[in-house]
Symmetry: C2
Subunit: 466 residues, 2 copies
Amino acid sequence: MIKFSADANKKPKHIVIIGGVAAGTSAASKAKRINPDANVTIIQQESTVSYGSCGLPYVLEGLIDDFSELIARTAEEFESKYDIDILLNTSALKITPSKKQIIVSDSVYKEKNINKIIGYDTLVIATGASAVIPSLQGIENINNGMFTLRTLNDGIAIKSFLENNRPNSCVVVGAGLIGVEIVEAFKKQGLEVTLVGSGNSILPKIIDTDMSLIVKQELENNGIKIVLGERVEKILGDQKFQGVVTNKGKTILSDFLVFGTGVKPNSEIALDAGIKIGINNAIKVDKYMQTNISNIFAAGDCATAENYVTGKDTYLPLGTTANKQGRVAGENSAGGQAIFRGIAGSAITKTFDLFIGKTGLNSEEARKNGFEPIETDINSVTRAGYYPESKSISIKIVADKKTHQILGAQIIGGEGVKGRIDVVALALLKKATINDLSSYDACYVPPISPVWEPLNIVASNLSKFV
Amino acid sequence: MIKFSADANKKPKHIVIIGGVAAGTSAASKAKRINPDANVTIIQQESTVSYGSCGLPYVLEGLIDDFSELIARTAEEFESKYDIDILLNTSALKITPSKKQIIVSDSVYKEKNINKIIGYDTLVIATGASAVIPSLQGIENINNGMFTLRTLNDGIAIKSFLENNRPNSCVVVGAGLIGVEIVEAFKKQGLEVTLVGSGNSILPKIIDTDMSLIVKQELENNGIKIVLGERVEKILGDQKFQGVVTNKGKTILSDFLVFGTGVKPNSEIALDAGIKIGINNAIKVDKYMQTNISNIFAAGDCATAENYVTGKDTYLPLGTTANKQGRVAGENSAGGQAIFRGIAGSAITKTFDLFIGKTGLNSEEARKNGFEPIETDINSVTRAGYYPESKSISIKIVADKKTHQILGAQIIGGEGVKGRIDVVALALLKKATINDLSSYDACYVPPISPVWEPLNIVASNLSKFV
């Protein structure tokens, strides 16, 4: 690990941040707060900054009127209220660490391919991640009706397609977080929706196959057609998308397609500059969010994050991590010494009336990381038995047989999922044991909890296996 | 502390439990599971067992049709399914530890004052607590229209009064947990409701005065009349209740009254038997739930509980604690060696659209316990800014300036209160620091959380004070 080298007495004069969504704007705001005298510049290739990309499905669902509502702060606000310069529609093309310079496309002269050089004292790379589009047979023929959902412009493009084409059906490829959120949105728009996942279960990176059956049932109950264990191999259509064919020969005709097939870190510019790349091709950072090059930091969806259960680097691009890492990178780029304590891999999503969450490791991941996992699960309820509108909740927890340390949890329920995932996320940080989790003094009131807290109970049940 | 003396090889043959609500039935069930050969007998002075007294306000509100729905398991079920004997309508009158005997009123001969002797090998006292009725001028004249809300029979009496008398107004004395729950119930029944609290704030034992203003506003917005800082001194009426007069001379006329003026442990029978009494006249127990007398355990609302933040005994009668203590007492009465790890004082209630929770210490309590408290609070929201129906949430946290250890939290909000109180409750058990609470990897999805978890943020804010 490279020790952070900034000297508080020699504060950077010019802090440049590449990227203006979650990590980038968090970094910029924090840098300016720490060092109000510095010039802080954000280079943003899109035409907006600081938008909540996690909200895109809800605009498409119709719950939120317009994409503009997802914008937390506009570029004008950053400039007028925070004195942060923002270069919109501007791409960072090359970083030259030896000269502390970045070559950017100049938005004014963009069409003439005229570039500009920007100098920096410290740099934060927050270039985010891009949707992965698999290379499929026939995909090159299509220029209409095929989408990803990653950026604000992606969302705008889908909404515009829906309005202009009034489609009846869609196929969503990928049964991950984006997949399960977007199928609800499209269903609520009255579309016939088919979800295709190449794995054998829904949300395979979040929950185990046994737990995922609850989600599958919820999707089917809401009229989503589900095709699992089949990989899309071929795209049908000429210019206009018409359908897909799977590796098992199944043809699914549809009016449009959305890929929810994962993302990849935008780390090429870093690689070109000689910055060390880590797991999943993400930019390798230490706990100060510093890269291997002095005065260059990285944060968010382009960077690695240490898992505080395993102590190992992971790549799990989520908005919460991006914001926190951005803040640390921003502080340190301005001369601070903040530390990012890592992630537990906490994630939660909602589809129809279910929340689905995970934190830490499942048994398989635990085994790969040298633990001896034991696990158990419980089906419980979210309110006192007699209180109306109680929801189901299912909890699986994993612990290490030898040390009794809690290693992870998966929770699916109609309510109360976030709070319980968060309890376990803290348990993981504090290396809490099974006995700790069965013993903490959970609060109780009939409208929002059963008298026996399900997390206490599932932990108590697990203690029988040690 | 008296070491637990049961020998697993010499299991008790007859386990007697005095009390059949939360702690008593938990103890009985656990004892029978641990030692299926034992005779387990519950002595219950009421005509039902195992009911959820926390649900009483919701029946009165009309959310739940009938009190019978609050009964988790009937005496018949305990007898037929679990082989646990239950003596209903039977009062334990005297314990004679030297003879291992209890004198009980015999329900069959009750009117003839004939008593019966029951022997035990181990005994669990789970006599609960009784509502405290203050001695007020004129109270002895009233036999109609004055209630407490503690037992199932209390609830039935109030409901019957409502049905038979069709009252228009009521006064609730005591602004604690019962008070704020019951005023909602009565308001939703269309009554004019006045809440009188002798302290200067609502829920003074749960939240600080500044935080309580949010609750006061909620009650007032819902049409509850609030009188604070005045003590009821006099009851008006002859036989039938007519109103109260406060120490400041205010007269509040009303059709009936409910006291929510606290409870006292039913520990007289223990005291008579030479069992050591602790804080608040509750039965003093150790972590095995054992009293100072060998083979006599106590659990629930009649017993003390160690606070795991201070390490000191407290008296905080709540259903969660009763159940957990009951289970430990039951296991140990049957020859086990279970340990109760204590409470954090976690409590939550709901009134109208607010949940109000506390765990651990407030600053004043922290100071009294030798800490050097620092505190801060935050007003945040429960969902992403753009997501519909986001609720407000206010969080105050307290930590120790020297060690940075988190000491407590108070949270008031429209949703998401339980989960966050529980996170802090675990933080307290694990002696988590401010940095831990600002760093744990909280999960995020727009329908149920803002991207910056409020607990992370309030902890991060508090770090500026150390």
